[in-house]
Symmetry: C2
């Protein structure tokens, strides 16, 4: 039986390992400070396809293929796959992974998708419902921009709080095993809505969700920020990261020394003109698979909390004057098995 | 530990019960042959809101509230909720359920969403990761029509193979318990794509997925169609239902005596002008929660296979000339606990 701790946290009963992982990215991501962490960088962001939507699917296929190969497995060895993306009806994923013929559960958590998939894969693998579980997600600057904002050709001016959707995909394999990284626990988030309506300020919309889930983890488990090497959020960017630390501080939780945000890391903010930072499902996913998991595997990081965040808006909801609810799920990823 | 059977089926180890369920619908659904099965029918499909999107969210809120009340629980008693809908970025669900403050995992399986949620809720409840799990989904004719097809005011002519999106929502609660209906096993589907490109013929696009998952269940478990009172699909409609039976027959699997399709049941095909039948996440969800689960609870049905199907297209993928992949997940729902 799984071990429920508090309202929202579940600890693994078995050693649940992330046995393989891969990150794929576009040119701008390759030029960024973590460019060398990607398994593959495309030169023109088309990934050999004739539309950006097909490119996003191809990127997912590449990341998944790469992760499966690194595991030394075949697609038919994978019991279950969890995945989704930002495109309407998650077509990036459906078309990207359909030819692998793996039992598939589509998930939608906006930019929290990698956290959500990781949480579900961990729980279903811990219980034995799945032996080898794959998780995949992606985002593509060009598909997101034209779907959520403006036609690419329009060249709309971006506001200071806006973030740059990463063209990237991350894929990983979860199974019971004895090699790190291990998933020690997962914390499932609630939808948080503080009434932010500015669709160009996703960081502010998502910060309350990150705060809610991270503080919930500490309440549920009794741990404190200093017990971890890093507390990693997905794509809060500069604005959301500042808000997260402020919200936490009011609660007596000092995250400042430990907090890292993939959206602040993936691009060079001085030279790459991304305003408040990077964003997109692929941002947190590729930083997790390309940087954090290798660091944990090598023992350079021992324990991190990984809490990607998603903004649950659509152009329709924003045009109808609705606020932007956010959500965040958290996984404790560790170099050691151990009890929670 | 969960009990994996074959490639895609997992049997419950514990008695996993669907302890409460509720169905909510619009006027046309209320006028249909199963109108009396709904817990609430709205008179103008606005559910007291000022847009159809808000109406869809309100409908989900109503269904969820109803299911939680029938269980004699409060929102804070629910460990985990799984839900999604057809709207871009699943805003029907995000806005419909956010105020309940329940840990939430968004899922996307198009019209297979109720099956997907049921499968995940069953697995996570069986393992103890969740105590009380809620599943919710919906569809609304007016939101789907203007998002996927034409502005409502346009009055586009509908083709003979097209289906009518049900305005309906179904919500249910899953927990370990000793009262029927029980979920005995779940089978996770793969994405199936036979190259159908006609977005007005979803039944044909989804039939191969239903066939794949249903035949996979029989292969995995060794059961045969005659062991069940009904084999229920979600919204294949007239065209897809015929194709499912034909595909199965080629494989030596005679479904004709047992097959029922929620899309063929929810509307009166003689008087309600729905062409090939009903469709939408809410179609299968409301027929499950309003009709099939009460029948199983009362013992009038002993064992059914419930396999809702989803078409994984978007207007963008269709406009780019892509085919329509389908997916279907299956749950064996029974009046008796029993081993698989």
């Amino acid at each position: 039986m799984s071990i429920r701790i508090g309202r929202s946290t579940v600890a693994m009963q078995n050693a649940v390992s992330i046995s393989a992982f891969a990150a794929v990215g576009g040119k701008k991501e390759g030029d960024g400070p973590y460019g060398s962490c990607f398994d593959y960088i495309d030169t023109d962001d088309y990934f050999g396809q004739d539309s950006f939507e097909h490119a996003e699917s191809a990127m997912q296929g590449l990341a998944l293929q790469n992760a499966i190969e690194k595991r030394g497995a075949e697609p038919e060895d994978i019991s279950l796959m969890l995945g989704g993306d930002l495109l309407n009806q998650c077509i990036g994923t459906s078309f990207g992974i359909k030819d692998f013929e793996i039992p598939f559960l589509g998930i939608y958590g906006a930019c929290s998708t990698m956290s959500e998939g990781l949480a579900l894969a961990a729980l279903l693998t811990d219980s034995g419902a799945s032996k080898l579980s794959a998780v995949i997600t992606s985002s593509h600057f060009c598909t997101a921009e034209r779907q959520y904002r403006f036609p690419l050709e329009y060249g709309g001016q971006r506001t200071p709080t806006s973030q740059w959707t990463a063209t990237a995909s991350g894929a990983l394999i979860v199974e019971q095993g004895s090699k790190p990284p291990f998933i020690r626990s997962v914390t499932i988030g609630t939808i948080e809505d503080k009434g932010i309506k500015d669709a160009n300020n996703m960081g502010a919309a998502m910060a309350p969700a990150a705060y809610s889930t991270i503080s919930r983890f500490f309440k549920d488990t009794g741990y404190k920020p200093s017990d971890f090497d890093a507390i990693v959020t997905g794509d809060l960017g500069n604005v959301g990261s500042r808000l997260l630390c402020e919200l936490s501080e009011r609660d007596g939780l000092d995250l400042r020394q430990k907090h890292l945000d993939c959206g602040r890391m993936i691009f060079d903010q001085k030279s790459q003109d991304v305003h408040a930072g990077g964003s997109g499902c692929g941002c947190a996913a590729s930083m997790l698979c390309g940087y954090f998991l290798p660091e944990i595997k090598a023992g350079r990081l021992k324990n991190i909390l990984f809490a990607a965040t998603g903004a649950l808006l659509s152009p329709t909801s924003s045009q109808q004057g609705m606020s932007i609810p956010g959500i965040s799920h958290l996984a404790w990823i560790s170099n050691e098995k151990g009890e929670i």
